[in-house]
Symmetry: C2
Subunit: 253 residues, 2 copies
């Protein structure tokens, strides 16, 4: 049985709490947050604390806190030589205070409080600064997912940045589509199967091969009409830049 | 039994052929293309022709051809007063020659030759210029999908334009993510569950409510680091423009 102390109460921490709580072979020894309020409701399931000096002994300490809090919180830990992991996509493992054995446990998924996550399909990117800790961290991750990846810091930061494109920016394109359809009294809902199919297609095909539409065909007439049709300057800018980008990728300019 | 003559042999035509071929209560009376070669392989299943003067009588003629071919092909049809539909998202029903009864049968999905399509979840946007034709066209669409929508030309053109954002442009963001991960030797595959979850999330939640990440938090430190990390000017431009767009949508500037 692996014992875990979880630190933090944001989206990642909450989803990790649920996943570890359900997992076999893992016990959550304690849940820490700087304020008790967000975790108070779990006090019947787990020992909770808002005091780092009261942290109990465990096999691993997971800092699921904001990037800026990783360094100071790791410094404040009242012990040495133990295994301490953070969950950040963009922070170096070296940001954790060096008095402990350091590593990263980065689940690459979009988490929101309201939506349940099936952790078994979430890739977890793992890194340990002490080589011999890796096997243990992998065993820990495998209690909640089938997908673990050994990733160094450069790779992890590239993935985190790429995730902004496929998640935040893609979602903003959905938002623009919502604005365009609403402005003509059309239902955004009609686009939902296309949104799903676009995501499904690149599960098998590379995005390069999956591309279709007026930009890759260099269909100037349609592009011109679309630009005329777009009422908002902000939408036109996005249309122009991404059309350019597609043309460039596919050698159409 | 509804009899259909299908005209054209591109992606939409091919997928419509398969869907109608499998459907009950529909028979494909004939398949026309300006050259026989692409449809020759189906001559054991259906009557084929490359000669408009040999088109047989049917309940409906579906012009699944390129936008530019709709007007001339509809003019060349050697009959009058029959029901003629095109499948284009961006072309007016009035582009069909007025000697026939006109309408639109626009399946809003991304089609590629190599990928099979489950038509039952594809929304089909319908319009008829003769009001009493609508019920028939809806019955026809219902033989291959559960999702039909009565859409006027303005709405359809808005949907077609919005589809470019959620399909072509989103796919290009996937491509950029592919380039970013590859440049650091990280696997694009690790992003695939996130791509799916991003699309899944907006099936229930609005894109507005689904947004997360550094732009909506106005996390200047992360944004600055990301921009520094991006090696290609084209990637930086997309990052900056979509970050601006998210901030604007969420009142962060």
């Amino acid at each position: 049985m692996i014992s875990v102390v979880l630190l933090g109460a944001g989206n990642v921490a909450s989803h990790l709490y649920n996943a570890f709580y359900e997992a076999e072979n893992v016990t959550i020894a304690q849940w820490y947050n700087r304020t008790l309020k967000p975790i108070q409701g779990f006090s019947n399931q787990v020992a909770i604390t808002d005091n780092v000096s009261q942290l109990v002994e465990a096999d691993v300490y997971i800092l699921a806190v904001s990037d800026d809090a990783i360094a100071p919180l790791s410094k404040a830990l009242p012990f040495e030589g133990r295994l301490v992991l953070h969950t950040s996509g963009s922070t170096s493992a070296y940001d954790i205070d060096k008095k402990n054995r350091r590593g990263v446990f980065y689940p690459l998924q979009t988490f929101s409080k309201s939506t349940a996550v099936n952790f078994s399909t979430v890739p977890i990117c793992l890194e340990t600064l002490v080589k011999k800790d890796y096997a243990f961290v992998k065993t820990l991750a495998r209690t909640i997912t089938n997908k673990t990846h050994r990733i160094n810091s450069d790779q992890r930061q590239a993935l985190h940045l790429a995730a902004v494109f496929v998640n935040n920016f893609t979602n903003q394109l959905y938002r623009v589509a919502h604005e365009i359809t609403e402005s003509q009294g059309a239902e955004f809902d009609i686009l939902k199967p296309l949104i799903l199919e676009t995501a499904n297609k690149v599960q098998e095909l590379s995005p390069y091969l999956a591309q279709t539409g007026p930009a890759i065909r260099n269909d100037k007439k349609t592009i011109k009409r679309h630009l005329k049709q777009l009422e908002k300057e902000g939408h036109r800018e996005i249309y122009e830049l991404l059309t350019q980008s597609i043309k460039k990728t596919h050698g159409k300019q």
